[in-house]
């Protein structure tokens, strides 16, 4: 499967020295899926009526979304084409082993609008489980398909769907670095900023409207916050020394950052406008990679205060503190923590036998599960429903994105033919969720 990363962003020279993308970026994105849970839900998706007249298919997007979760098995629908419930012969679908059936139609309206009517049918009960009618402009057909996939996923699993979310990552090609935002399936990639110096550590604001990141364009790391809709950006932490590792507070008002200006690498809190600097951690070692708990009361971070890098948790108080609880004990290198949305677990990178792998630890039981067997995994980030983890890994010396299901059963790779993808961050649920 391959597509073009096709969006063009009009250049708007807000800041001198930065050059903005004004040419379409062409690169092929490949998606590969490995494994799959033992008890996948068999689902048949019938191409919607009149769908083939649209410039963008709907049901292929829905099918790919569901398949990537590892929770669904697509049942062949060839030869059968019901579009409304009265056309459905349930016995046909039961014979093919489908438990669920997706049917629907598309109606071209005036003024480039398209109405999509879809229904999710329960084959055993011979009844409709749910349905939806959406009217969108022709340019938003993929987004509409993701919404439908979300509705199906939610009806059949009981969990919130994340197909309408976005991801951010850094694409390095030659000596150019692009901070890109794409749909959760890797399509519609757009460069937010491109530069010839490294960019690392993108972090989504809780409302999904802004990205914080670290840029090296000024001979040292500086933390910026950029608004996606306007491309406007500002330096939030540009103090003497290094400025890095931004993490948003859940209310979106503050950032935890790592600064070195007062000695060592230590965690500070700063308002999003750059004011109100407050020191949070105090140790003689390295304290870095802060990540807020969903309730905003705690910060997970990486520290080598105990001799090797391990993950710690500290309560956020008004005074700086050296008190923190060590959470990881297996192995001599555990880094890059990211809380799950329920705050009950966190994902991180564990090094064992000189491999760097994605792991998850339950905070209550301290139980650790290693989810991957690759060699160089980096920067894991939970999907907002806690069911998948996005991370960067390396294949044949090439940086690619990968996602693994929370149980480690299913993995998918997203790669571009030229260039390295790294530093992924999974964005929040859209506001209407």
């Amino acid at each position: 499967m391959s597509i073009h990363w096709f969006k063009t962003i009009r250049s708007s020279a807000l800041i001198l020295l930065l050059w903005w993308v004004s040419m379409p970026l062409h690169a092929q994105l490949n998606i590969e899926i490995f494994g799959g849970g033992a008890s996948r839900i068999p689902i048949a998706i019938v191409p919607f009526a009149e769908e083939n007249k649209l410039n963008q298919g709907i049901t292929p997007v829905i099918g790919a979304d569901l398949q990537r979760t590892g929770l669904f098995k697509l049942v062949d629908s060839s030869g059968l084409s019901p579009h409304v419930p009265t056309d459905v012969v349930y016995a046909d679908w039961a014979n093919r082993g489908a438990n669920a059936l997706v049917i629907g139609r598309t109606i071209a309206l005036s003024g480039d609008q398209v109405e999509i009517q879809f229904r999710l049918m329960d084959v055993a009960k011979k009844s409709q489980l749910t349905g939806l009618s959406i009217t969108v402009p022709k340019t938003q057909l993929r987004a509409a398909a993701h919404r439908i996939a979300d509705v199906i996923y939610e009806a059949l699993t009981g969990d919130v769907g994340v197909f309408s979310t976005r991801i951010a990552y850094v694409l390095k090609r030659g000596n150019k670095y692009a901070l890109q935002v794409a749909d959760a399936d890797g399509y519609n990639a757009q460069s937010i900023i491109e530069y010839t110096e490294p960019i690392i550590s993108p972090a989504w604001s809780p409302d999904g409207n802004q990205l914080a990141y670290v840029s090296f364009e000024n001979k040292k790391p500086i933390v910026y916050v950029q608004t996606l809709s306007t491309r406007e950006r500002r330096a939030v932490a540009s103090f003497k020394g290094s400025n890095s590792a931004p993490a948003w507070s859940p209310d979106g008002k503050k950032l935890a950052v790592v600064l070195t200006g007062q000695g060592g690498s230590q965690i500070f809190l700063v308002n999003v406008d750059g004011s109100g600097l407050q020191r949070l951690s105090r140790s003689s070692g390295i304290d870095t990679e802060p990540n807020f708990s969903p309730d905003g009361r705690y910060i997970l971070f990486t520290s080598d205060r105990g001799g090797s890098p391990q993950i710690y948790r500290m309560a956020i108080t008004n005074a700086e503190t050296s008190n923190a609880e060590r959470l990881t004990f297996e192995g001599s290198y555990n880094v890059s923590p990211d809380f799950s949305q329920d705050g009950k677990s966190f994902t991180f990178i564990h090094r064992g036998d000189s491999r760097f792998n994605v792991a998850v630890q339950e905070i209550g039981s301290r139980q650790v599960q290693i989810l991957t067997n690759s060699k160089f995994d980096e920067s894991p980030s939970f999907a907002p429903n806690g069911k998948m983890i996005l991370y960067a890994t390396e294949i044949d010396g090439h940086g690619i994105l990968s996602a693994v299901s929370r149980d480690g059963q299913t993995r998918q790779h997203l790669s571009v033919q030229t260039g390295d993808i790294r530093e992924p961050a999974w964005g929040p649920l859209p506001k209407w969720k």
């Binding site: 490294p198 690392i200 550590s201 090296f216 000024n218 001979k219 040292k220 790391p221 500086i222 330096a235 540009s238 103090f239 003497k240 020394g241 290094s242 890095s244 590792a245 790592v258 600064l259 070195t260 200006g261 007062q262 000695g263 060592g264 690498s265 600097l277 390295i286 870095t288 990679e289 990486t302 890098p309 290198y333 880094v335 890059s336 990178i349 090094r351 760097f356 160089f376 980096e378 920067s379 790294r422 530093e423």
Partner: protein, 173 residues
Amino acid sequence: MRKLAGIALIVLLSACASQTTQPEVDDLTAGGVGSGSGGSDLMDSGSGRPSYFSQLQDPNSILSQRSVYYDYDSYTVRSDYRELVLSHARFLRDNASASAILQGNTDDRGSREYNLALGQRRADSVKNMMTLAGARDEQIESVSLGEEKPRALGHGESTWSQNRRTDILYRGE
């Protein structure tokens, strides 16, 4: 003119001193010492640079050597780089208007942010040695580039050893 330059220097230095208790706003582009916009009397006529830069770039001078390398997982300045660091420290001590930026670097194994912190530790080790030898704190900014700007690409010890280093840069150079 010399007097004016002296006053300008005092203003700049006191501006720096007043900020040392707090992390200060980055002054790389703010027309600070050595940026070329102030202290023109320190310049060589025509070259647009303070006269001391000729020493820094003289290939026969140890001051033209700008990289300090480290052993694996180590942040202490090796004895074979001690004279190099001390020479730069003496240069800063003797040229009060010169200022340096020290960029720590690491190899590319592990977390990018953690490596950034490790690179900072390398730059800080050089800065500490320099300030103990008479350079002033305000003359030196230690920063880290982590694993982001490798001098050599690929895997293996010969590559990694080149990336475990601190580079010494002078402002205005």
